[in-house]
Amino acid sequence: MRPDAEPRTTKRATGQDGVFLERRIYRRRRLIDGAKLLPLLAALMFLLPALIAGAQSEGGASTAMRLVYFFFVWFAMIMVAATVARSLDQSGRASTDAETATDPDENGSG
């Protein structure tokens, strides 16, 4: 097969990479985008307090409040991730027939 051929060509050849997508597939793509962005948001939320606190040496939030903050953010992220994972699984099940040959997930921004 193609040792160094661009994978894009094969994708184009299958003709599945259209500009306009069915609503269901479009939803799934955006869901995947969300799943990809979630860790970035989480990283920001986790790292920001430490970075800000590092900048201002005194008078930061109290340790107990920080603790509550971290667990709150942490739990919220987990809930969002659970929702996203569930929806992804459902849409994945629904669209396995529609998109088989190429992996649709990689077509988006990946």
Partner: protein, 915 residues
């Protein structure tokens, strides 16, 4: 106080329970009833091997010492799992597609199935993990000691170092037995270890329950509620902590990489994964588990600091707080939690490491020592399994030895992060393996070695206290810029962050640079593509080309590694797929590839490749093969586009043929119709001629009648003659025997003449519209013939124009070298279907009432005009029947004057020739 003996019994009972569960799970799995064994819950819980005794006990100690920093160890993995779509999903897919057995196997498989790279990663993993195993042994031993000392009546009964050592030895031995029993049951390391995974899932529950129980007790049993606890936190020394941004980011990054790169994590995450969907659930369930594990860490630490006497070890607060408050049941539960954390880590780590050591170091060495190589006689399986068992014992022995050498010192407690930093050195190569096709083996090798060396020099060796103080302070040989904790003179960094920073930076930098500069081998490039595009792979490229493998040799070898039954099944299935009966399929590259992949599940990609290539005559794919394949596909592309062009051409031809056929059919129909028409036309005058001549023959009529009859006979004969003349005229024209009588004339004269001849002066209803000024055109042509055509067109309009007030518009104009004449009437015109046939001979519009002619007029006109070097065509869309005549504009004596007219003359000749 809990009697120490009772604790030992509890511990042993717990171990026996785990053995029972593992054995039961293995049995269920073998019977095929493994549905709950493969549930996402089991998978998520098994991931908890991440939480070792170091986190179970150590997190509290860490919180007591450095505040919330312990959270980073959990936040890093949380980020990785929340971002499972980026890395973990691909990792698991590749692991399943390539039958990966360990992280070393993955790296080696990606980088050209390199044995040396696999061995390097193995050494790194063993170096990084051994201290960690020692740490687990230490924690179990210490927790035993806590109970022993608490129950001891006298100081003399307190535990001594020797007691600790022997306990550690017993624990190590017990774990070795467990691991060997349940971890080396089947050779295929890629198969699930159901027993082990189930036991670990149970242990995960135990440690979670234990920690939560202690936490709840501390909050509601000791400090008196949630708000009180928060106040206590504020009041305790823990609150003095303020985050250090460098350490916070560094540690989060470190734990994030570790959760991917740690051999034990890779084992449960990738190798033991039964279903990719489980990962989606684990993506939030595992962070939830981590959250639960860390929720009560700070309260326990705070209460411990307040409650316990100064100088007591905060690492053991989880145990000592319940003991101090006489909560013996809780203390035993906490002990079991810590015990579970330690044992599950050691078991999984030693399975993972033994697979690596055996597949990437022992077996390659063993094979290279034998001259016969892979074609050894006897059962290789026993050798592989034995080497794995020996490796387990060796790794645990190494851990114990490490524990003894470092003497259970405080140095161990910091080893957790050191160990993380060590295995994280695989991270750049791993990311390159997953995402960068350009990553090369040399690059990976150079990067890992660089990172390994810097980590060892800046972190590992100083951490275990092997480096002289002078070197740490002033650098080796007094070279200040090489000080292990201030490389290149950058001081003031935390030693851990410093080491992570430099090792990862240089590791990744060297990896990228060497990858950019080196040229990967063909197998590497093949694997690189199939790794990076694992989600798009339709049919994986085969790493083999041709080769001289005999299926029988392959079968012999596969039997030795997979066992006779499995190997025969594999071969039989392959043979069936090829449409052959029996056990020996053709050794196609695809089949050789399948066999290799299957073997890789047992001995790793590198060894499997080496073994198969020994049989296949080193016919592994070469650059030439790759190029040939590329050429082939290029040729195929070319061929297919050529085919496409051909098929378009064929389609065109077919369309033309279809058109021609339709026309022919129509003409044939017309011909039949015409024949009957001609017969009819001939018959009608003949009939009247016959009957009137019979009347004449009978005689006895008046002279007037006779004259009338004779006239009728005469007229009918004229009509017959005209018909026959027409036919004759046409055949003369068609055969090209016509002689043109060319002469000069003016177009409007010709039209006047035609109008007159067509009987327009006899009160015909047809009105002819002409623009005389535009008709002042000289022509040089056969004027009689041209007039004949005009007459025909005008009389056609007379006959067929069905308008109430019929009009014929004749437009004339000169364009370049041609004269155009349009004859347009205001009738209904000619239906589209018939437009293509009206110029054919015998053509006659069927629905026309006027049947004055035999339908030869237009055919004759066309022949004439063609003879004259022009053309006549039907002009659709003019509101009625419209005909256009185009004639060459020629002037007398000037016909050969210019080139243009030369061409014209040629055209005329050509036309007559073709007609």
């Amino acid at each position: 106080m809990v009697a120490f003996n009772i604790l030992v019994f509890v511990a042993i009972g717990y171990v026996v329970l785990l053995f029972g569960i593992a054995a039961f799970a293995d049995q269920r799995a073998r019977r095929g009833a493994s549905k709950w064994l493969r549930s996402p819950l089991t998978y998520t819980l098994s991931l908890s091997v991440y939480c070792t005794a170091w986190t179970f006990y150590g997190a509290v100690g860490n919180a007591a010492r450095s505040g919330l920093e312990y959270l980073t160890i959990y936040l890093g993995p949380t980020l990785v799992f929340l971002g499972w779509w980026w890395i973990l999903r691909k990792l698991v897919r590749i692991g399943r597609a390539e039958r990966i057995t360990s992280i070393a196997d993955l790296i080696s498989s990606r980088y050209g199935k390199s044995t040396s790279l696999a061995a390097l990663v193995t050494v790194l993993a063993v170096t990084g993990t051994t201290p960690y195993i020692a740490l687990q042994l230490q924690s179990v031993t210490l927790s035993f000691a806590v109970f022993a000392n608490a129950s001891a009546e006298t100081a003399a009964a307190q535990w001594q170092a020797s007691d600790l050592n022997s306990t550690a030895l017993y624990v190590a031995a017990g774990l070795a037995v467990f691991t060997i029993l349940f971890g080396t049951r089947n050779l295929d390391a890629n198969e699930r270890h159901h027993g082990v995974v189930t036991a670990i899932a149970i242990e995960a529950v135990v440690k979670l329950v234990a920690l939560i129980a202690v936490g709840l007790f501390v909050i509601w049993g000791v400090s008196g509620g949630l708000s009180d606890t928060l106040q206590m936190i504020e009041a305790s020394p823990v609150a003095n902590w303020s985050p250090d941004a460098g350490r916070w980011v560094g540690l989060t990054f470190l734990s994030a990489t570790a959760v991917i790169c740690l051999p034990r994590m890779f084992q449960v995450l990738v190798v033991e994964n039964a279903d990719e969907r489980h990962l989606a659930i684990a993506s939030w369930a595992f962070p939830l588990y981590l959250l639960a594990m860390s929720l009560f860490v700070v309260p326990i630490a705070v209460v411990g600091i307040a409650l316990m006497p100064d100088g007591s070890n905060p690492d053991l607060f989880v145990l000592t707080i319940p003991l101090a408050l006489d909560q013996e049941g809780l203390a035993v539960l906490a002990f079991l939690g810590g015990f579970s954390s330690a044992t599950s880590m050691v078991i999984v780590a030693s399975i993972a490491l033994s697979t690596m050591v055996s597949n990437h170091i022992v077996i390659p060495l063993w094979l290279s020592m034998r001259s016969s190589g892979a074609t050894v006689s006897g059962d290789v399986r026993s050798v592989v399994i034995m080497s794995r068992r020996v490796s387990i014992v060796a790794i645990l022995g190494l851990g114990y030895l490490y524990y003894r050498v470092t003497g259970g010192s405080a140095a161990l407690s910091s080893i957790g992060l050191v160990s993380f930093a060590g295995v994280a050195q695989v991270f750049p190569a791993l990311m390159g393996a997953l995402f960068w096709r350009g990553a090369s083996r040399s690059g990976a090798m150079a990067g890992v070695v660089t990172g390994f060396v810097i980590w060892g020099y800046t972190l590992f060796i100083p951490a275990i206290g092997l480096l002289p103080v002078s070197v740490v302070e002033f650098g080796p040989f007094g070279l200040g810029f090489l000080r292990p904790q201030a490389l290149f003179g950058i001081t003031g960094m935390d030693p851990l962050v410093h080491s992570i920073f430099w090792s990862m930076m240089l590791n990744a930098g060297v990896f990228v640079l060497v990858s950019l500069l080196s040229f990967p081998g063909p197998l590497e490039r093949l694997q690189g593509a199939s790794f990076a595009n694992v989600f798009e792979r339709s049919s994986g490229a085969s790493g083999w080309s041709g080769g001289q493998a005999e299926s029988e040799d392959l079968l012999v070898m596969a039997q030795r590694l997979l066992g006779a039954r499995d190997a025969q099944e594999l071969f039989q299935t392959a043979a069936q797929l090829q449409g052959k009966a029996g056990y020996l399929p053709d050794p196609t590259p695809e089949f050789v590839d399948t066999v290799e992949r299957k073997l890789a599940g047992s001995v790793g990609a590198a060894t499997a490749h080496a073994m198969v290539s020994q049989i296949n005559g080193q016919a592994a794919i070469t650059v030439q093969d790759l190029l040939a394949v590329a050429d082939e596909s290029a040729q195929m592309l070319e061929y297919s586009s050529a085919l496409e062009a051909k098929s378009t051409e064929l389609e065109q031809t077919a369309r033309q043929l279809r058109y021609a056929n339709e026309k022919l059919t129509e003409i044939s129909v017309q011909k039949d119709a015409f024949l009957s028409q001609v017969s009819h036309e001939l018959r009608t005058p003949m009939t009247s001629i016959r009957s009137f001549s019979e009347f004449l023959m009978e005689g006895g009529m008046s002279g007037e009648d006779r004259t009338r009859y004779s006239r009728i006979i005469h007229d009918e004969s004229v009509r017959l003659t005209r018909l026959l003349d027409d036919l004759l005229d046409l055949s003369v024209l068609e055969s090209g025997q016509v002689v043109l009588n060319e002469q000069a004339g003016m177009l409007h004269d010709l039209l006047d003449q035609a109008e007159a001849s067509a009987g327009m002066r006899d009160g015909s209803p047809l009105k002819i519209l002409r623009t005389r000024s535009s008709e002042e055109l000289p022509v040089f042509t056969d004027t009689d013939r041209l007039t004949q055509v005009f007459i025909n067109l005008i009389s056609n309009a007379q006959k067929y124009c069905d308008a109430d007030q019929p009009q014929l518009h004749i437009k004339t104009r000169q364009r370049d070298q041609r004269i155009e004449l349009d004859f347009i009437d205001n009738g209904t015109g000619i239906p589209t279907r018939q437009q293509s046939v009206i110029f054919e001979k015998f053509s006659r519009l069927t629905n026309t009432a006027a049947a004055g002619s035999a339908g030869l007029g237009l055919a004759i006109s066309r022949e004439i005009i063609q003879r004259l070097g022009g053309s006549i065509s039907y002009l659709p869309g003019q509101g009625g029947a419209a005909f256009r005549i185009e004639l060459p504009a020629r002037v007398e004596n000037a016909e050969f004057a210019s080139d243009g007219q030369d061409a014209l003359a040629d055209q005329i000749t050509a036309k007559s020739a073709s007609a």
